[in-house]
Symmetry: C2
Subunit: 192 residues, 2 copies
Amino acid sequence: MTGGYLKGRIRREDILTAAVAVYGEAGYHGSSLREVAKRAGITHAGLLYYFPTKEALLAAVLERRDAEDAEREHLGAPPGLEVLRNLIALAEYNVAHPGIVDLYSRLAAEAVAPDHPAHDYFVRHYRLVRTSASESFRVLAGRGELRAGIDPRVAATTFVALMDGLQVQWLTTPDEVDLVATLRRYLDSVLA
Amino acid sequence: MTGGYLKGRIRREDILTAAVAVYGEAGYHGSSLREVAKRAGITHAGLLYYFPTKEALLAAVLERRDAEDAEREHLGAPPGLEVLRNLIALAEYNVAHPGIVDLYSRLAAEAVAPDHPAHDYFVRHYRLVRTSASESFRVLAGRGELRAGIDPRVAATTFVALMDGLQVQWLTTPDEVDLVATLRRYLDSVLA
């Protein structure tokens, strides 16, 4: 790794961190590249060198978050119960970081529109998480560890929807919803 | 009912219908009372007579929607399996009206902030739906119709979260998510 390359990577990371902070305060639509540059302590032209558009910056923020989540929670473990438990551990991490959950929930709801800059990201994201959960439920089914009548694909869609829906419900009435316990109860309820 | 009162009610309904159309196109934040008045064919001052603020109009739109849903789908039926099935029928109605689902999902995600004009509405809304579903699951439990180990309150939170999460997932990838079938499967999976 050359010094210049390393410096570029650090700068890129600083910009992404600044973007998360600005989105958290002003929302994605209410934010500007100029504001993110200011927060990151670089010039607007300097930021444009790394991220030529607002959309490119948003995509990089979301993808960095997924990569960090996958590494921290070992989401790439072999399909099976561990992956599903690690997704619950991710939810537990998110509960301790409500700002991230808030940003993600809003973006997911806005990005259902095909012309939204994060639409393609969410299409890919949902496919990836559903496929991963589905493979894990299938492995459980193959070992006779899934309750009779539970379809692995339906359980995967349910599990992902439950994570998303619980986040909004919990953010709205935090004292009335135990997000992590509810997810655990769902997982337990489909195991044989 | 006097003629003047009736005329006022009709005018009020026209404004609410216009508001739903404008929110659907521009989003709540991107809309203005002036635009809604124009769509409803009345003056700005005329609209202010019925709804003095943007927030008051939003609250009335959401409450009218709940009242319409409750009446059409008989959500006020005595607690039990019928209420839960009627909530699934409501989801089926929503699938045929994606504009409503889109508006609702976005607002729910934005309104987690305590200072959002629809925050109090969503706090009340979630409490009401959770309580209603919870009572219905409890009636099933009392009749031995709920699977052993299923807690009525947890099942209610799960059911509501599932409706919300499935809506966003379905709007993002409509061909890959069967919203109504997934809800039905969940309900079947907790019945004895």
